[in-house]
């Protein structure tokens, strides 16, 4: 009955506007804690976009890693280390010009790229209604193990002859995580308080 508001579009625009507005606020703020606060809001709005796209897992990841990570950054990176002169930060006009130049160039590359993908064009609502929402975390995890459940195009009888699965990203993932762990341990070792012999 009556006219229909297309709610996903409405919430998409709301979240996108919030994300952009708070991103600008990060730039314009001078107090470093306020900057972090705006950054958290901007990242949360981005998480909202992910939830809107049905990517619950990525959205929760965004909340946990980026929003939670900003929190840790704020505490340990900013509040404990920043001295008087870094708490209030002023941006010089030279910085503005430089930032606009680089940011504008990136934007000029990104916008044509985004519009050049034909599948990202306007899809009819009727097309989207017929599809089924699936688990988002399961294909991600299976893809990490090498089984691309989203790309099963061959008929089932061919799968028996296709041999072992593709290696996937699990080994690479493990190598990089062990590498990060070693870096963390090294950083903690270097930064530990050194006791003087007395």
């Amino acid at each position: 009955m009556g006219e229909t508001i297309y709610w996903p579009s409405f919430f998409f625009l709301l979240c996108a506007t919030l994300a952009c507005a708070f991103a600008v606020a990060v730039l314009l703020a001078t107090n470093i804690v306020r900057m972090a606060f705006y950054l958290v809001l901007s990242l949360s709005a981005t998480a909202g976009l992910f939830f809107l796209a049905g990517a619950d897992f990525v959205g929760a990841m965004q909340l946990m890693i980026y929003v939670g990570g900003t929190l840790v950054l704020l505490i340990f990176g900013v509040m404990l280390t920043s001295q008087e002169r870094f708490v209030e930060m002023k941006t010089w006009s030279g910085d503005w010009v430089f930032a606009f130049l680089i940011g504008g160039m990136l934007l000029m590359i990104l916008i044509p790229a985004a519009f050049s993908v034909p599948q990202w064009g306007g899809l009819k609502l009727a097309d989207s209604e017929s599809m089924v929402v699936q688990d988002t975390a399961t294909p991600l995890g299976m893809g990490l193990l090498g089984a691309r459940v989203d790309q099963l195009v061959e008929p089932p009888d061919r799968q028996e002859h296709s041999g072992p699965l593709q290696p996937g990203y699990l080994l690479l993932f493990e190598i990089s995580s062990v590498h990060l762990l070693v870096v963390l341990v090294g950083a903690a070792y270097l930064a530990r308080a050194k006791h003087k012999k007395s």
């Binding site: 006219e3 606060f37 049905g54 990517a55 619950d56 929190l71 699936q134």
Partner: protein, 414 residues
């Protein structure tokens, strides 16, 4: 519900009302439970300390005491320290409260997930619910840190720093204790996790094997610490820090911090009940014996769900009561002891429990109750994912059409 309503009115109104119903229900659950828990806390602490607690307001047992307190708080002057960062100081309580309330969006209050077309009673059914709740619960500390920083008071800043260090540390074992339950159920979907434990209490995941039994207690300890309750309430240690991060707050803003605290206490207890204590299934399957299942029609099914809701809330209230009991029994730890408890005891314990539960599941697949009983057959059909029936009962989520677009794109790309 939105679709049902849109037959009778404009669809924008229908969607708004459907959303508002969820919001109002959750808001009232948090607010009223805080009302009850504050009274309960005063009563229990009184009894533990051989006092009576509140007795006068509202006739018997002083059950309206919290309402009187609330009225008193409303009339207090809204103070702000001179050196404070005004905007952040005003916003901090709301950040805390919003984060605490947001976790309720994903918590299902009664299940029957996907069974015969029944949708779980959740504001928004998220298929990685456990992960979402954990992620959001970790954000509550942000309000505390903002409050501590913006108050321009050293006591507040000390409290906030302690809280930050504590919550960041305790998130690790907390997450690790949740994983065994997720592994056994094979899903991060809270409603599936709950229905995995249907039937007798022997199917509860706390009794699945010795490792999950210990993991539950580690979870409860870490949950107590992560919601900043005694004996881990270092952020507001009144003997050394005046009142910690909310030293400078008064009136309604101060009470928002308390609503947030009681809200998160309830939500971690709800999560514990869903993960380990059989969720909305009682110790005995009384709803099944009475015939309150989906086979006997809609009314019977919803009556069964109502029973499940009562079950879940009862378990959660018991969990909160245990937290209150612990608070008034144990002395407060020192900050180094708090961190030691986390890093030297809880984290290794949680890791061993995770390993043990994995090996147990590998050795005795399909066994429940310390390997003594078999997993009921009905459970195996649960992990198949949402069948067609789930779509008809579930109110269409706002994000769903866009999600479908994503899928169709992937299909075209492949």
């Amino acid at each position: 519900m939105a679709i049902f309503l849109s037959n009778y009115m404009w669809s924008w109104l229908a969607y708004t009302i459907a959303a508002l119903v969820h919001v109002v229900l959750i808001l009232n659950l948090v607010a009223i439970s805080a009302l009850v828990f504050i009274w309960l806390e005063r009563k229990i602490s009184g009894r533990i300390q051989d006092r009576l607690g509140p007795t006068r307001v509202g006739g018997k047992f002083g059950w309206l005491q919290t309402l009187a307190d609330g009225l008193k708080l409303l009339t207090k002057e809204d103070l702000r320290p001179e050196g404070a960062d005004g905007m952040l100081f005003r916003l901090a309580p709301y950040v805390s409260f919003a984060a605490s309330m947001a976790s309720y969006i994903a918590i299902p209050f009664a299940g029957g997930a996907y069974l015969l077309g029944a949708a779980p009673w959740a504001a928004q059914h998220i298929n990685v619910g456990v992960f979402f709740v954990l992620a959001v619960l970790g954000l509550e500390v942000f309000g505390t840190i903002l409050a501590g920083y913006s108050s321009a008071s050293k006591w507040s800043l000390f409290g906030a720093m302690r809280e930050a260090a504590q919550v960041v540390s305790y998130e690790v074992p907390l997450g690790m204790c949740v994983i065994p339950a997720v592994l056994i159920a094979g899903s991060m979907d809270l409603s599936l996790l709950g229905d995995r434990q249907a039937g007798l209490f022997t199917n509860w995941l706390i009794f699945h094997d010795p490792f999950t039994f210990i993991a539950f207690w580690v979870y409860f300890t870490c949950a107590t610490a992560s919601v900043n309750r005694a004996p881990f309430d270092l952020a507001e240690a009144e003997s050394e820090l005046v009142a910690g991060f909310h030293t400078e707050y008064s009136g309604l803003r101060w009470s928002f911090f308390f609503m947030a605290e009681y809200g998160s206490m309830l939500s971690v207890s709800l999560l514990a009940s869903i993960l380990f204590l059989g969720a909305w299934h009682g110790p005995l399957p009384i709803a099944d014996w009475l015939g309150l299942t989906a086979e006997h029609g809609r009314i019977a099914m919803n009556a069964g769900k109502l029973l499940g809701l009562v079950n879940l809330l009862l378990k959660a209230v018991v969990g909160v009561s245990v937290m209150i009991w612990v608070r008034w029994t144990l002395p407060r730890l020192r900050i180094d002891q708090v961190i030691t408890t986390c890093l030297k005891y809880c984290t290794p314990l949680a890791a061993v429990m995770l390993l043990g539960a994995t090996v147990w599941q590998y050795q005795f697949p399909g066994r429940n109750f310390f390997g003594l009983t078999n997993v009921p057959q009905a459970v195996f059909s649960l992990s198949e994912g949402p069948p067609q029936a789930a779509k008809s009962g579930n109110p269409v989520t706002k994000g769903a059409p866009v999600a479908k677009v994503e899928k169709s794109k992937m299909g075209e790309g492949a």
